[in-house]
Symmetry: none
Subunit: 375 residues, 4 copies
């Protein structure tokens, strides 16, 4: 099967093989601990900072929740800047931990707008922190977090950024962008199986976590447990060696390449193919270079296409949230970025549209391949 | 390296190999979903029940916390029956989620005592539920959960049992024992890498979770998300295929063997070796058949021994909690149960004691091997 | 290519992927043996029995021959009840192994008739066993094996049933139907590549095999070799892991669905399409829900149609035996049961008939699609 | 897991990937038929002949039986020349099909001796054919089939040669050696999963099969069915595409290399390692370059070593027949021929012997590696 979904992404055979060493005792094995700590340093390196990074054992959503649980104390006001499904979702985590979410909705078809935020903050900037999403995977929008986080800092508001489907695919400068908490996941651009959450945290945010008035209301969703053991030979619980080995080699390989340009090139080529074919992309601007969300004609649903694609040997993703039923999504990130695999995917899509009597203005496959010529 | 620690345990090469398939999309792949649901049914089968089981993606401690978060509402009184480190630890989870932990301490060197509990409950049984631990890994004690949980039910108190280091090694009859929530982990007797929490839940407990007055204060530590999707083709978040494949084959292999007798035999032989040597076991009764905790002479620490053992190629576990520094632990469970590996471990221990000038009354290795003869 | 032939059927991409693990040593690998034995238990489950099942490495015809070689001793009289190509074919296997085939021919255009058999057996029932076919793939007839096998048992005659193209598509209750030997194949309704023969055997038949006066005259076509190792960790020869993995997941997925109803629905819809079009089906009654055999007009041959269909990307089957040249066959079973694939097939057939100047009363595709509406 | 057993051997990932195409209809797909016929021609090419080759769907033992069933008629005398387990085994197949096996036993620790055969044939050469084995996998002996078959032809006796574990590893010239029937298997030197039997047949033998007085007493074990369809677009039963694709690419790759020299080199190096270590090889001469059989000291069994090797991640083979319990076997053939894999295997063996207190004169690993230097 070709895995071209918006996550989990393909994990290459070589990486799977590398991950599968003999089992060890992660609590005692010195070599494991060395590699684990190195992996954390590589995460920081990937986002161009010397700030601390650590890894939690759980799906990426664990990190989103843990950021809220670790920073919020009863009654804290939090600004939820949202233009998509995951951006909105922070609301629930904030409420769970006694925070007061203040919702700032922006246009769901575009990237976050700095000016609107500026206007807003002029009137009200009394927030402990703000939450936002780098890449909204459901809509395929990449938000300009550099502008937004910098502006937030100007107003003294910390920023928590969900970079689950951008880290390792899009350029992130943790320091310059003025990010305070950055949350990543293993199964998107990093192409490691699901099960790891990556956290990078600023000194300011760390200090808030370590100096709370009240204890954090969770052990598993808890940054403090990790921060306190940072750099030591201990972990808050037993870690999983094969996932860490996978993340480690993945980060090293990514850092050896010009991964930002590669994602940019493939993102443009995939979008071009859909646009040329006459199909509409969901976003009006700020297209993500890791995920493309395509609007479907009225007479067909996402599930019909996704199921037919499975029969043709390709996993792509259906719509999510308010886009359920109406969109399909291609993940062009991490180990999915293989010219042959993308061509196979587009060929299969061309066939499915034909079968479903949806006439395209030109073949997706050909548009994708031609674009390369003029690149 | 030989892994003979009290968890994570050895994962056999064959199992690691079996786990390593091509990566898939766990949200869409029909075959993955079939195997995932089958795995849940196998968990129920292992604990002899038709009650629902499900799997959470995270270290076993996630299950302990999620049980508390899912069942407790503000102000609920919970009885914490403890005779060890993990039994005591439930206190913190209960407090985090607004419950009132009422501590019932018993002798830390023996199994839980039914009569003491009966006396206690006669005076006060107004508890939503009680928490207890099946096998206390730090002390090597196996608690008689059948007696305790049945008694609790007589008083109308639900039971939450931490069976992390007993499931798959000790006999558990979920229905007959009157357990309401049973929590297991992948990295102990099941010998799958760390990263999965196993939950089995009674109808009564499920009904409480599904009919709460207030929402559960966590998304990741939350039974409801899993119960609502039970048996469906969806999960609350992206799952990890290789861990589930590993758990699946592990459960099948365990169910094919008389695993209770095997653990009993090895447990007795390991304990016999230490007793014959003149070393003292920590427990006075209720010895666990999965973990043995050995008291050390005053002139040596656990870390000295554990570190020297590592140099000889064997991982064993140091002490935990109030036994830190004073005890070492051997995990004789799951894939650790290999005569050769145990002999190698005891040989290395014989050598270490000799080097450290601790004179044993007889060789651990020989006692272990001789015992077999008279078995 | 779309595979809609009467076998081998489509093997879904997901299943092919699931089958492809790293190679192993099937003689030594414990996990392989677990899955192999589980697969045998699943076969028994599929045919609703606790009787033993086992798998032979070879095309399904191996099972037909091995049933005869294993049960027959020199001079045994065997009743060959036939209303089709494969039913008749048992004659040859019986003769090869020294048996005396007694031929009972019935109407080739209908299902086997219980009353005729009853009349026959009243006069002569001195047979060691009788052979019959569940689904005659050449003619598209599903025989009422429940009535026939029960009647045979009343006369003390064992039954050997060729269920190669019905197992996994049609309801079979091995015990209630009073079957003694049931033979299945991997490449029909189970949609696993060709290469496995599935055998389920009653205690009576097993006892005959194990207590023969003379040895079985073949090693490869031999039930005894398999029965003697049943449930053990050994096989009569080196097995093929990927086929067994494929059969395993296939059986699980089938057992999770109402596969009988699904085959019934598709069978009716396909037949309806041909009937509405004015084309004649070969059978007059007892239509199979797994294969449809369509009579062709005089001015065209099966090969002409099959070859043209291949050019259009669809594999269907030509006629076999006395129906060679005169019929085409659609296999609507296993992974072939996909609405899209059937529509593609009928569309192509509509086109081919048009090209060949064969005027249909209405479009096959439309009849197929409309029928659904009134279902 | 490292597969270094005497069959099944390793199947490389690349080959597995190549084998896994979309499923097809092997009866109709023209491309499949082309590749299938090409594969048969490649088999003939591998054994340096223009004689016909064909492939049967079943484990290699199918070919041994089918050779006997196809050539023997009631009362035919057959010379069974044996110096090992499989050589002796032909007796049973001959008896099953009504032949009279005449046993010629030679020294089991050496290769077949031409002079002894000559003496024998001088007295009695009235045999329809003789059977013999090229490589006796249980004992690790490679018989000089060139000398033996030529001599047989001088006396007008046809030869049937079991080359299951030599074809693709040892030089075979079908014509010059004067072989009449050569039988190979997929899962040894060709490193394709188990399930295919390869047959090459001389014109003389073919003529005997096609001109029998009585029909062959089996359909599945039957050369005639294959010979009659040879080169046509039909097969006696539905074939398995992925196995044939695997065999095809495997043969092409082998023919591109100097596979005889490679097997010779690795065979010598492995034997050298065992000899230097002081362990005894079973054969006194005629060492096989594909399998090495090592005699064990009295105080240890093959199963103890094989089981311990599994724990260390390596599959090797135990003894077979009269060598059961007393020998272990390394298969150095096909995709097993990887320097790293052999070193890993010998390292693990060095460790196991150490654990079992069996003192070697020098390390197997080192001897293996050093030998290379002086090569």
């Amino acid at each position: 099967m070709i895995v071209m979904s918006a996550g989990p992404t393909t994990v290459s055979r070589e990486k799977l093989d590398y991950m599968m060493k003999n089992s060890t005792n992660t609590d005692i094995d010195k070599n494991y601990i060395t590699i684990h700590r190195e992996t954390e340093a590589l995460i920081s390196k990937l986002v161009n900072t010397n700030a601390k990074s650590f890894v939690m054992l759980g799906e990426a959503i664990l990190g989103l929740e843990a950021a809220c649980s670790s920073l919020i104390e009863e009654g804290d006001r939090v600004l939820v800047i949202h233009n998509g499904f995951f951006g909105y979702g922070f609301k629930y985590f904030i409420e769970m931990y006694g925070g007061i979410p203040v919702m700032l909705e922006m246009d769901y078809t575009k990237g976050l707008n700095k000016d609107i935020l500026d206007e807003y903050l002029k009137k009200d900037s009394d927030f402990k922190f703000a939450t936002l999403v780098h890449c909204e995977t459901p809509s395929g929008i990449m938000n300009p977090i550099d502008e937004i986080c910098s502006l937030l800092q100007d107003y003294g508001v910390l920023s928590i950024v969900d970079a689950v489907s951008s880290i390792g695919g899009e350029f992130i400068d943790f320091d310059k962008f003025k990010i305070d908490v950055l949350i990543g996941g293993s199964q998107k651009c990093l192409s490691v199986p699901s099960g790891l959450t990556l956290i990078t945290i600023s000194e300011t945010a760390e200090s808030i976590v370590l100096n709370r008035k009240t204890p954090i209301k969770s052990y598993y969703c808890n940054f403090k447990n990790h921060l306190e053991k940072s750099g030591s030979r201990e972990f808050p619980y037993t870690m999983n060696d094969s996932l860490i080995y996978g993340l480690n080699i993945s980060l090293k390989n990514i850092l050896d390449t010009d991964y930002v340009s590669i994602h940019k090139e493939f993102g443009e080529r995939v979008r071009n193919a859909f646009i040329k074919s006459g199909l509409k992309l969901y976003p009006k601007s700020h297209f993500s270079n890791t995920v493309t969300t395509v609007l479907l004609p009225d007479n067909i649903t996402d599930v019909e296409i996704v199921d037919r694609m499975v029969q043709k040997g390709v996993f792509i993703s259906p719509g999510v949230g308010h886009l359920e039923g109406k969109t399909i999504r291609i993940g062009h990130m991490g180990d999915n970025l293989d010219e042959n695999m993308i061509i196979e995917t587009l060929k299969a899509l061309d066939e499915v549209f034909l079968e479903k009597n949806i006439v395209l203005e030109c073949s997706l496959t050909e548009s994708f391949m031609k674009y390369n010529v003029f690149f």
